[in-house]
């Protein structure tokens, strides 16, 4: 039998059977819920990634050297998962610009960042350069994300190739913005963090130190020490405890500048998974019961096919094909519903949500939802057919 006739036969009964309409309704609800639930967990996971993993502050271990001769950097070479190590005095400085913004400058190795626009450090010979965030905030750090806050956000690209005059006490130099980075990926947990070469930070540090030394000249209470602290930046937040332990085992004292707890979000995700499983099982049971009933009530059609010489196998295949088509139709409807929901939500609350958490419809979630529903709908047919094996294709039982 030609494949087009399988489609023909499967499609003929599709929208005439009340049970199919019921199944489609049920599947639409299930698929939509699954997509929403899994997209929501994806959103939450992204939130963790951006708030925790994308946040430099959470990936820093402060390590005290054992003395000015101690070769801490060498000792840490064998530990995996460390992004870079910096001396405390080449790490960061607060500075202000000619426009009045306060910038937090962080010194990084040339290959640390990946950028969104412009150039990276290793693509230029200039020294006084900055890589700044995609969203620039003009004003004090906000206390809440309100409408007023949103109006003060500026696109970082506007600053590309422009100059900032960076001042810190007596230090005053012109810096060029050469690149823009995604602050969701590298943030320090505050606004207006620009990255620069570590040499520049050292220069600012030295200038400030000299300034303080001069202030201290006549003051016996002034006691300026070389910092013994180093900053260890790890790749991934998940490894930080492990790496910290290894460093402690080498005999060093360590501290963290932040501590986050994600168990709350893990718990929410666990609940979402439990809900999804529950939805799937319930649907499966409903489908099983309704398909079972359907086969028993569908004797007449089977009888028509049987007297015309149709094989039982063909009838079974048509049933399977029908349930695949039903799942597919429900899937399309669900996707449309989800897209409409998504567009409505992001049109109305988009800007706020985007800044706090990346709202997303996950493709993976969509595909998995589809496969899961297809799976349960085929399985329910399989069991229903197996259960009623004797009824399909039997003629004598049917009332004539």
């Amino acid at each position: 039998m030609k494949f087009k006739y399988y489609i023909f036969l499967a499609s003929k009964n599709l929208f005439h059977k009340k049970i199919n309409i019921l199944n489609i309704l049920l599947l639409v609800i299930v698929i939509t819920m699954l997509i929403i639930v899994s997209s929501f967990s994806k959103t939450l996971k992204n939130l963790i990634n951006n708030q925790v993993n994308g946040n430099l502050k959470h990936k820093i271990i402060l390590v005290n050297r054992l003395g000015s001769e101690d070769k801490l950097a060498l000792n840490l070479e064998n530990i995996e998962g460390i992004s870079y190590i910096a001396n405390y005095n080449t790490y960061s400085q607060y500075v202000s610009t000619n426009n009045g913004e306060i910038l937090s400058l962080i010194g990084v190795p040339d290959d640390y960042l990946t950028i969104l626009n412009g150039k990276n450090f290793d693509e230029t010979d200039e020294n006084k350069v900055l890589i700044c965030p995609a969203n620039f905030y003009l004003g004090d750090n906000p206390e809440e994300f309100n409408e007023e806050f949103l109006t003060k956000i500026h696109n970082g690209v506007n600053y590309l190739d422009k100059f900032f005059t960076i001042t810190s006490n007596l230090y005053k130099e012109k810096y060029k913005v050469i690149g823009i980075y995604d602050e969701n990926k590298y943030s320090y947990g505050e606004y207006n963090v620009c990255y620069t070469r570590q040499d520049n930070i050292l220069e600012i540090y030295n200038s400030n130190r000299k300034y303080i030394e001069e202030l201290c000249e006549d003051d016996t209470n002034c006691n300026i020490q070389e910092p013994l602290q180093m900053i260890v930046v790890v790749n991934n937040y998940d490894n930080i405890s492990d790496i910290e332990k290894q460093i402690q085992n080498m005999g060093y004292q360590t501290t963290r500048i932040s501590d986050v707890n994600t168990t709350g979000i893990d718990f929410i995700i666990l609940i979402l998974i439990v809900i999804s499983v529950f939805i799937l099982i319930t649907t499966f049971i409903i489908l099983l019961i309704s398909n079972n009933k359907f086969i028993q009530y569908n004797k007449k059609n089977n009888l028509i096919y049987k007297q015309l010489g149709y094989d039982k196998n063909i009838l079974i295949k048509i049933n399977y094909l029908e349930s695949i088509i039903i799942t597919f139709v429900s899937f399309i409807i669900s996707i449309i519903i989800c897209l409409v929901l998504y567009i409505t939500v992001s049109n109305n609350y988009g800007a706020q949500i985007k800044l706090q958490m990346p709202l997303c419809i996950s493709y993976l979630a969509i595909i998995i939802s589809f496969l899961l529903t297809l799976g349960i709908s085929l399985l329910s047919w399989y069991l229903a057919i197996k259960n009623n094996n004797s009824i399909i294709g039997e003629f004598c039982d049917a009332e004539i």
């Binding site: 023909f8 003929k12 028509i304 007297q307 015309l308 003629f395 004539i400």
Partner: protein, 228 residues
């Protein structure tokens, strides 16, 4: 060659309290080119017999030969092919698929016929309906047709694969006199073209069209008038 030869076939139904012997040791030869009328009281076993002849039901004992082939050796698949290509059924209740248009119903037996893989079965279905006088009803659904029209669609479907054997169980049971005559004449014509036509009926009018009238009583044959 006999179209269908049955030797001593029996069929009983097992109920909780008793056994019903629906067909009780019947032997007979049905020939091509003849129209047989099987008459008898309700419950005499006519439908059971015709289901056995059409391989829709299994006999408990005895042998059935169709075109000289012993069908007790047949697999389920071979029986399906036999039903599809060699036998056409017409039932009292038409048994049309209500979700398909008239021509789609007529296409059904042709879809699975291997010999028809390379012909335009849609056109052929419409042609068959035209031959049954239904050229302006091809796109109608069964619900939009009268009983007589539905039965004519069913006959067109039964003839789709050009079978040599036509089995009709009360084909005129739900029809008015005009349609009754149309259907019986059609079946008569088929017998005249060399097919073996077997009609089960209560209706005395059938006798007028039959070459051979068989009376059934308690699952047994009482053959009345041989060839006219």
């Amino acid at each position: 060659m006999e179209a269908i030869k049955i030797i001593n076939i029996s069929k009983k139904y097992q109920l909780k309290s008793e056994n019903v012997i629906a067909v009780n040791g019947v032997s007979y030869s049905f020939l091509y080119g003849k129209l047989y009328a099987i008459m008898g009281h309700s419950g005499s076993g006519k439908s059971t017999l015709i289901h056995c002849l059409g391989l829709l039901d299994k006999v408990d004992s005895g042998k059935i030969y169709i075109n000289d082939k012993d069908i007790s050796d047949f697999s389920e698949k071979q029986k399906n092919i036999m039903r599809n290509e060699k036998i056409g059924f017409v039932f009292q209740n038409y048994y049309l698929n209500n979700n398909m248009r008239a021509f789609e119903n007529v296409m059904l037996p042709m879809i699975i016929n291997k010999k028809y893989q390379h012909i335009d079965i849609k056109t052929k279905a419409k042609k068959l309906l035209k031959e049954m006088g239904l050229e302006d009803r091809v796109n109608h659904y069964p619900k939009e047709l009268s009983g007589g029209e539905q039965q004519r669609v069913a006959i067109a479907r039964a003839l789709a694969n050009n079978p040599n054997i036509i089995l009709a169980d009360e084909p005129t049971g739900n029809l008015d006199i005009e349609n009754e005559i149309y259907v019986l004449e059609k079946l008569r014509n088929l017998a005249d073209t060399g097919k073996c036509v077997i009609i089960v009926s209560h209706n005395m009018l059938v006798k007028k069209y039959a070459d051979i009238v068989i009376n059934m009583k308690n699952g047994k044959f009482v053959v009345k008038n041989h060839e006219i």
